[in-house]
Symmetry: C2
Subunit: 641 residues, 2 copies
């Protein structure tokens, strides 16, 4: 097996002023405080205080995960600079956690206080291992950033307890969580603590999943329940319908799915498990070829918060949960680390710049749970019992009863530096472009590289060696799948290198001050969807670079369904410095049917109509920034006149 | 007040061989036996047998209405010819009913046997008066057809009990049913038995609806419940949010709505209540201008089985319940009888030829509950908990747990003869065209008129006076709203008459053998929807005469979303004698994008695609007859290239 590239540590990557710097600033200054305030106000922090009785705050089975993701986000944020206030907030909670941890290591604010006898009795529904997993991730991130071991020690004790409880041995439970997450967390914990037995536990959970006799059946029977009474009707919902190596299709709840697939891909790499890798690749191909929105959203259905069937991508009712796209980013990174193909980063980039970023407001303190690709501000009075929360479809909320998304987007953005680069011993992969400085060791030499770019608004990227000594290594620059023309130069001299597996590579002994310039042509693209996607037929979406654009009523007036972009319409890419600190915009002239000429009635014979489509200027903005101004309609897919 | 036209009695209209004759034959020979077999097999008939204990068949609160609609359908069917078998089936049930009726007249198979103490305790939710109403309608239809009074007597006793129980007097309940229906039934019963106090009761129920203090609030409190716990969240659901004269918008559950509006329109006419008439007209305008599918379907949402907001007409998820279109037919007829405008019959005709007829299979023994305007045979594995029963969206079922639609479509079709003609003392209105013979009295003379036509496949209509003596009367021939050009002749001589309120009128002393010929030009129309209907933007629907067409996969292959009809596409109307006894079809050449040229992946830049839309013949069939052949996709609205 050749060495596959691994992401750099977050501490190795400085984000310099530019697109991601703006996002990180908002995340640190607005999102983290907003999430902390909500955790506090809703009782999620007090839930950890053993002395607060449950009738004062109604603890919930997955509140622990919300706190955990916030701590994880703080951890990543502290990597770029310690902050006494943030650390004090976290350390106080860790202290409460230490008081709640049971003598056997068990650590869960809900079960320990509210239902101590129900521990491990319903893995299928009650998120117990899921919460443990998020705490493990928090512990790894926080200890890595601060060097403080308290939380990591708590979690190692808890994980040792879990490892003793679950497994194939006599007296152990052969169970696994209905909501995958602990698997990928165990892999992180194993690496951070150099503890291979945590990796073994992750493998056990993954291998056991979906096997017969089915653990969820046995467990339900032990509770005196009929397993057929499972509220979600099918174990597809939690990817436990068959063993994972027999799974070839993305199915069920999309966050559960992508967390599981993330762990599967990491395990396949770490253990050289070819069958597991093949399942990962098959599911990946299914998802990206059949079940992914152009925004990188996945899981179109509200009903199961997940997947339906191939090419079913409704726009107005799209679920596209923020957490699902975040999970897709995690999975894509693991697929890249497994196979080293740039195509995985194409998907990561699509999800990150579009669906994930749409999950948080420009101001940083409001959040989308679902991310539709078309939205109408008219709300059915029955929306609250229609199964589709259309009220969430056009304005972000400051919090949710099920609050998975806000701290999840906070932790993902705080960790974005992890995704810019990857490396093997002698090769540096530039995966996502963004102004940054990277410190690493390549071919035995310490290397500092600085990247200058206005990406994603422009395709020009410069990388300059800033370390003091020459260094021999290979630079692998990703040529994104969206890019069809580029130039590459070293110190101004053109280099003609082929694109292999998504990368152009330059191998040389680099001298301080050497500059590599990659210029990715970034025209506005009229994107078409596969002819099987009935919801996008006869429509186009505008994309430039990795950014998908949308039209909003605030720029273009209402009735956006009546806009049409003729093939010959001139389109111009520009920059609006007044728009949320400076965003790319696309302007042009569209055709538009207006109701003014409509003679009345709901239906008319076309031959009696005099109304004609009229030219009208339009403006599209990045989808990720929609619903930040006056409420109104929004569409990604526009009629292709 | 001028005399408004009234529908003729069913017994006055013979349906002759032709379109409706075929439907009636199927209804009598296939649908009635199928419904009877299901009523029997599911326990709905045995539910009436007091000696059958409930644990054997699980009586249900609205089963009585299913039996009642079947009896009503039998009654209408017997009008055209007695049938000893059918009558024996009904008479047996009537006998059981007589044994179940309580000494005070109360008649309900569920409450009398299962919950005798719960009688009249939950009018909001439990359909008690609704069931009574359907039994009244059954009694009127069956006694009128057979002269047998047994059922009518049972129902008069029951209605007298209801009239004693409900009303504004001391000791009476000021309640009304959560599901309107009894109001329109009481109006029929009042007329059939010449009992004005039944009309007073109908008026009481209508007037009381939505008044404060709200009966449903008081009733819930009396049950010890919080009224805010109402499962449907809002009294809009049952059109009881405000008093009926303050209602101007079609809202809530669409069947409940249209049954209520039917009674309101009839009462407005019978009592000269101008305010009530104005509400009817306002709601009618709202519904037909903002909330009606081109198929005459109403109520787009599954969540409330009803209305959402103006111009919200999703096609694939359209609910468009069969019963709702049936109720729209009833309401349209009452609006016509109130105002005498042909435009009401335009809507009646649209609903009848499209959504209502689609509710039953060509074979007569399978039924649609929901009637979408686009359908895809891929079913989400989660459809059963998605809130949208997509499995019902492409194949009819032989029955439903909530079986309102099958017997409803049976009774509506059995009574279709009622809608062909209407009359005042001296004017005969020809409303729906169809081969038929009508016997009536006009201007004091007995008149027999015979209508010959191939409608709805052709627009030529001949009416010939077949009675023996001359007669002076006015003939008012409806010029449908879809028709923009027609010729009228009497005995071959052209007549130039204006269209007034939707009718051309010829007044003369008619001699035996006189023939009026109306020739309605019936081109294929490319229909457009109002520019506010986002779901139909850039699309057309094909309509010819009153018939809306659709394309099906069985004729046109899959991926129907990719079909586009250029404005210049030649379209031909034809007739396929092999299709369900001979249906109109529309053929032509469409453009089509096919996936064969797609280079792979879900999304591609348009500039890289070589695939072009290619011409391809297509065939559209009447929407009412879709899903009768091989399962597959269906669409009414097609892209207008």
């Amino acid at each position: 097996m050749t060495t596959s590239p691994r992401a750099l540590q977050l501490s190795q990557v400085e984000i310099l002023p530019g697109f991601w710097h703006d996002r990180l600033t908002t995340n640190r200054e607005r999102t983290l405080p907003a999430v902390h305030a909500k955790l506090k106000a809703t009782g999620r922090l007090d839930a950890w205080r053993r002395e607060v009785p449950n009738d004062q705050l109604q603890r919930h089975i997955f509140w622990d995960s919300d706190t955990a993701k916030w701590i994880e986000a703080v951890g990543y944020t502290l990597t770029a600079g310690r902050d006494a206030t943030l650390e004090a907030q976290v350390d106080e909670v860790i202290d409460w956690m230490s008081q709640i941890q049971e003598s056997d290591g068990y650590l869960n604010s809900y079960f320990s206080i509210v239902e101590p006898d129900a521990r491990w009795t319903n893995l299928r529904d009650r998120h117990e291992l899921y919460c443990a997993g998020h705490l493990m991730e928090a512990a790894v991130a926080y200890s890595r950033a601060t060097g403080k071991r308290a939380l990591l020690d708590l979690l190692c004790r808890y994980t040792d307890h879990i490892a003793a409880t679950f497994g194939p041995g006599p007296g152990q439970r052969r169970g696994y969580c209905g909501h995958p997450e602990v698997e990928l967390a165990l892999i992180k914990l194993a690496e951070a603590t150099d503890s291979p037995h945590y990796l073994d536990l992750a493998r056990f959970f993954v291998d056991e999943r979906g096997r017969a006799p089915h653990y969820f059946d046995l467990e339900a029977q032990a509770r005196g329940e009929d397993p057929r009474g499972f509220w979600a009707k099918t174990y597809h919902y939690c990817q436990a319908h068959v063993p994972v190596r027999d799974q070839k299709i993305a199915t069920g709840h999309s966050v559960r799915a992508a967390y599981l697939y993330t762990a599967m891909a990491a395990l396949a790499r770490l253990t050289g498990d070819a069958a597991l890798a093949d399942s990962c690749r098959a599911i990946w191909t299914d998802l990206t070829a059949h079940q992914m929105y152009i925004t990188g959203g996945v899981g179109p259905a509200h009903a199961n918060e997940g997947f339906t069937f191939a090419y079913d991508l409704p726009n107005e009712t799209a679920y596209g949960e923020t957490c699902a796209s975040i999970a897709l980013v995690l999975w894509a990174q693991q697929m890249f680390e497994l196979d080293g193909q740039g195509a995985y980063i194409d998907v990561l980039e699509r999800a990150l710049y579009n669906n994930v970023l749409a999950g948080v407001s420009a101001e940083g303190d409001h959040f989308f749970y679902a991310n539709p690709l078309a939205s109408y501000p008219h709300i059915s009075p029955y929306a609250h019992w229609s199964g589709i929360h259309t009220d969430r479809h056009y304005r972000r909320s400051d919090w949710f009863g099920c609050a998975c998304c806000p701290p999840n987007v906070a932790r993902l953005l705080a960790s974005v530096g992890q995704y810019l680069y990857a490396a093997t011993d002698d090769t540096l992969f530039a995966n996502l472009y963004g102004a940054s400085r990277v410190h690493t060791t390549l071919g035995g030499s310490d290397v500092v590289l600085e990247q200058r770019t206005d990406y994603p608004w422009a395709g020009a990227v410069q990388l300059e060696l800033r370390s003091a000594a020459p260094a021999a290594f290979q630079l692998a620059l990703r040529v994104p799948g969206w890019c069809r023309r580029f130039t590459l130069a070293v110190n101004g001299a053109a280099v003609d290198a082929p694109v292999v597996a998504g990368y152009v590579r330059v191998t040389r002994t680099w001298s301080p001050g050497d500059v590599v310039t990659l210029d990715l042509a970034m025209p506005i693209e009229r994107m078409r969807a596969h002819p099987e996607v009935r919801q996008d037929a006869h429509q186009i979406a505008l994309q430039r670079g990795p950014v998908v654009y949308c039209v909003e009523e605030v720029d273009n007036g209402p009735r956006l369904a009546n806009l049409a972009l003729p093939a010959e319409a001139a389109l111009a890419a520009g920059r609006d410095p007044g728009l949320f600190g400076g965003l790319g915009v696309i302007t042009g002239e569209a055709l538009r049917v207006e109701p003014a000429a409509w003679p009345g009635g709901l239906y008319q014979a076309e031959s009696t109509l005099t109304s004609e489509a009229r030219p009208q200027p339009f403006r599209a903005i990045p989808y990720a920034f929609w619903a930040n101004r006056a409420p109104g309609e929004m569409r990604v897919w526009l009629a292709a006149a």
